[in-house]
């Protein structure tokens, strides 16, 4: 019982900052402080008129979409290989691919900046951020897809092979539909991570900022803070929707491949 109270208090601590967002987003004052003064939707209308913000959002959406696709493809390869029989060095290779999960993001950011700008002399743009985001999102994709592949009965694909399907068509017709929920879940998670990522994007962004980089610029101007609160409210709502869909698909995937759910993305 005591533990339950503690766990609920902990959840409140986790959600404390997010709960404040909508309060200030609808508050009729330019200063972000209590007491609240009145209700307004002015900050949301201001959002719709900001062309620079729209460009940044569009950039971020393109980057997040590409990241989601590529990270999931790499994750699919690794997770499928993970479900096959072991070979010498396999654990080490998988560990290496999972490394960005524990590497400080600034290390990834500066090392990519050095090699792209200084060594190869390339100019930065959305594609450089995509390269980096795929690197950091792939471990998450692998973790999710491992769950989908892990519980899969290899006998099903073997049966398809015995019945005359080629290796590729057996994968496409039998395995792929079974892990499809995992794929969708992986794409949504990678999309959400990329959309929100700032530390790396700040180093690798070209002349067109991503949305978090744009928000970072706005944080210096007190007058733009209520607009950020409005934007934050929309983003939090959007992330919750995306993550909820991802979770539903992840559970469906684990169920479909016959496993028992142990919960969580990791």
């Amino acid at each position: 019982m005591k533990l339950r109270i503690y766990a609920i208090a902990y959840l409140i601590f986790l959600y404390a900052p997010i709960v404040l967002l909508p309060l200030f987003a609808f508050n009729d004052a330019t200063i972000i402080a209590f007491p609240l003064t009145g209700f307004t939707t002015h900050w949301f209308t201001e959002l719709t008129q900001n062309a620079a913000l729209h460009a940044a959002v569009k950039n971020s959406l393109i980057i997040a979409l590409c990241t989601a696709i590529f990270a999931t493809i790499l994750g699919l390869c690794a997770a499928r290989a993970g479900a096959m029989s072991a070979f010498p060095g396999k654990k080490g290779i998988v560990g290496f691919v999972m490394l960005p999960l524990v590497l400080p993001e600034i290390i990834i950011a500066v090392s990519l900046l050095v090699i792209l700008r200084q060594v190869l002399g390339l100019s930065l743009g959305n594609w450089t951020i995509i390269l980096a985001h795929v690197l950091i999102c792939t471990p998450f994709s692998i973790a999710i897809l491992n769950g989908a592949f892990g519980a899969l009965d290899p006998a099903m694909e073997e049966a398809a092979l015995d019945l005359g399907e080629t290796r590729w068509s057996a994968f496409r017709l039998v395995t792929l539909p079974l892990v499809m929920p995992g794929i969708i879940s992986s794409m949504l998670i990678a999309f959400t991570i990329s959309l929100d990522e700032f530390i790396i994007a700040f180093f690798l962004t070209g002349s067109n900022p991503t949305m978090p980089v744009y928000i970072w610029g706005l944080l210096r101007f007190p007058s733009s803070l209520p607009v950020i609160m409005a934007l934050g409210t929309i983003l939090v709502a959007l992330s919750i929707v995306l993550l909820t869909i991802a979770e539903i698909f992840r559970r469906r995937g684990v169920r479909r491949s016959g496993g028992t759910d142990t919960g969580g993305f990791l």
């Binding site: 959840l11 986790l14 029989s85 070979f87 998988v94 929100d196 530390i199 934050g232 919960g263």
Partner: protein, 303 residues
């Protein structure tokens, strides 16, 4: 081409002849993500190691091998100060996060109905994936001079003047980081707790141990791998965060990551920045390895 292929296949036969078809397909599949990580992780990491031994000469990089950057880091007190402060902040954040997270992971694993576990984990991970920048900024609103805590305490009459030691210093950085990394600590501990054979706990209690001593002597040692995982997954990445110290730390709360960022993006001294990044990375890795080693000894001494 044919020759190449032939010589390759001979070499392969020597080494790989005892691999099954399944294993070879596994190698091919893993090749793609492995190549990607090699090109975009190993190669760039190698590049910054190389860079750290070069020097910035105004607009160009002088590529003669030198340890001047490392000497500068060693000799100027500012870098040592920032590094020590960073390691201290990461250490405290890790300690706080893991201590606060353990009971929650324990609660979910041992007291929540299996059908509800996913929901709890989901609720815990949601805040972690939403608007990092804005979340950090909101801590300013909570801890600030006119913030939630100060106005709340003033209203209640607990304090007569707003507290100032909770914003623009190291405390604020620690609170914000501990909040940001909370879910990261819960998940590895939870996963390990889930794997503990419940009959061991019953056996311990049947043999006369109390609930608390069962926890100390059975559950806690068995969950140590999860605790180690949680420590590493919080301690290592926190060293690379420059957003929280920038927004929350004020002048006295800047960390090594801020200095790395400044060297790269403002002072245009990539070699010194690279050397700083490597020094930070080496320190963090060394401390992590030492911690893993201590834990091994502790577990070995028990069995």
């Amino acid at each position: 081409m044919i020759f190449v292929r032939k010589s390759l296949s001979i070499a392969d036969m020597g080494k790989l002849s005892n691999l099954t078809g399944d294993q070879i397909r596994g190698i091919k599949l893993l090749g793609l993500p492995f190549t990607y990580a090699l090109l975009l992780l190993a190669l760039p990491l190698g590049a910054i190691v190389l860079f750290s031994f070069w020097t910035q000469d105004f607009m160009t990089v002088d590529t003669t091998f030198t340890t001047r950057n490392y000497q500068e880091i060693w000799n100027s007190p500012i870098y040592g100060l920032l590094l020590r402060r960073s390691l201290m902040v990461s250490g405290i954040v890790t300690l706080v996060t893991v201590l606060l997270a353990y009971p929650v992971a324990y609660f979910i694993s041992f007291h929540v109905k299996p059908s509800k576990k996913s929901l709890w984990l989901f609720l815990i991970t949601i805040p972690f994936w939403t608007s990092y920048l804005i979340r950090v900024f909101l801590w300013k609103v909570i801890l600030g001079y006119n913030g939630v805590i100060n106005s709340g305490l003033l209203e209640l009459g607990v304090i007569t003047e707003p507290l100032t030691f909770i914003l623009y210093n190291v405390n604020a950085v620690i609170i914000t980081l501990a909040h940001a990394f909370a879910p990261f600590a819960i998940l590895p501990i939870f996963v390990v707790l889930e794997k503990i054979d419940r009959s061991l706990l019953e056996a311990s209690q049947d043999l006369g141990e109390s609930k608390f001593s069962t926890f100390l002597r059975v559950t806690l040692p068995l969950s140590m791998p999860g605790v180690v995982g949680a420590v590493l997954i919080v301690f290592i990445p926190t060293i690379g965060d420059y957003v929280t110290p920038e927004l929350m730390g004020g002048a006295g709360g800047k960390l090594i990551a801020n200095m790395i960022q400044t060297q790269f993006l403002q002072l245009n001294n990539a070699p010194l920045g690279a050397a700083l990044a490597i020094v930070a990375m080496v320190c963090v890795t060394a401390i992590s390895l030492f911690f893993v080693f201590l834990n091994r000894k502790y577990l070995a001494s028990r069995s």
